[in-house]
Symmetry: C2
């Protein structure tokens, strides 16, 4: 006489989805087996049918969060409408970085979840993959002859480090007093371009 069938049917997916919502509000430490099971009207033990431990569930949620960030980056890149090939390549790289920073600011707990130190490797590659998007947009810039002679790996690390660090600064409590976020983001992205261009 229960209103819910004995078998949930899609508990694994439901756990990840509910975990993502929890992480959206409270970050990675907000994901708990007992908590999520309660929300889904299921016993805590049921979760262990799908994940060997909490760590694995957190890793699945983190992957989902990274993919969310990456898809925002991809969308921002696709929204670039400039025709000139060289400027287009730069604009796509910049859009990619800006989207990363905006994700950190808009969805701070999710950002923390996405890029927290990895404890358990995911079972499949990220799709889309943020690092791959960055690499490919840098390759476009290079293909336009815009990149100065430097190790392409180092160039990618430089670009990533800057937007990642900027995200950390804006997302953390460490924002320098009275900082104009948008203007500073523009200036930082411009400095990245100058650091990379011929």
């Amino acid at each position: 006489m229960r209103d819910r069938p004995y078998h949930h049917g899609a508990l694994e997916e439901a756990l990840v989805a509910a975990g993502l919502e929890a992480a959206r509000v409270h970050g990675p430490s907000g994901i708990g087996i007992r908590d999520l099971a309660k929300q889904l009207g299921v016993s805590p033990t049921a979760a262990y049918r799908h994940f060997p431990s909490l760590d694995h569930l957190v890793a699945a949620v983190a992957q989902r969060a990274r993919e969310l960030a990456a898809s925002r980056m991809r969308d921002a890149m696709d929204a670039v409408t400039i025709d000139d090939p060289a400027e287009r390549a730069w604009a796509r790289l910049t859009a990619c970085g800006r989207a990363y920073i905006e994700f950190a600011v808009d969805e701070r707990p999710l950002f923390d979840t996405a890029f927290a130190p990895i404890t358990t490797l995911p079972g499949r590659p990220d799709d889309p993959d943020a690092w791959a998007l960055l690499r490919s947009s840098l390759e476009d810039v290079a293909a336009q002859g815009q990149l100065r002679a430097m190790d392409p790996q180092a160039a990618a690390v430089f670009a990533w480090a800057t937007v990642h660090g900027m995200s950390g600064i804006l997302a953390g409590a460490a924002i320098p007093h009275g900082l104009d976020v948008e203007a500073t983001t523009d200036a930082v992205l411009d400095a990245v371009r100058r650091g990379l261009s011929v």
Copy 2:
């Protein structure tokens, strides 16, 4: 007939020092009231004579960790021996950034402790202060007429973001496969200079 006097004498300092050692190995979450009290041969309650809560103790340890990072940066800056004023200013800025990155790599858990999101404000300013060191070395570069026209605040955020992000990449598990750490650090610091210079 105890070998230890009833009053410890310097428990506050001892707690911070022991907390720093714990954080050095296990990061901020490795700092625990019961644990430190046990190490010092004191009851957990005694800690509450000196800190209203664990959070305050952690904040004190974090400040100590930041100051440790900052003093490494200052030492590295002071070790620069170049005479030419403009090159000297750049070298000091670079040394400062490199020391920050090296601290993250050498003392990862301490780095995590130092720059974790702040929960409780410290009772006194950092001494030395990492952000102030960076600002002042950038001012030196500007005073040498080497800095291109940009908001000085944004310039500082750009430099800090890059080394902070680089630290995060190197300290996290997210190191791209087969990365040459030293060479990449050099390349990134060089890109920062290019991003800032006239």
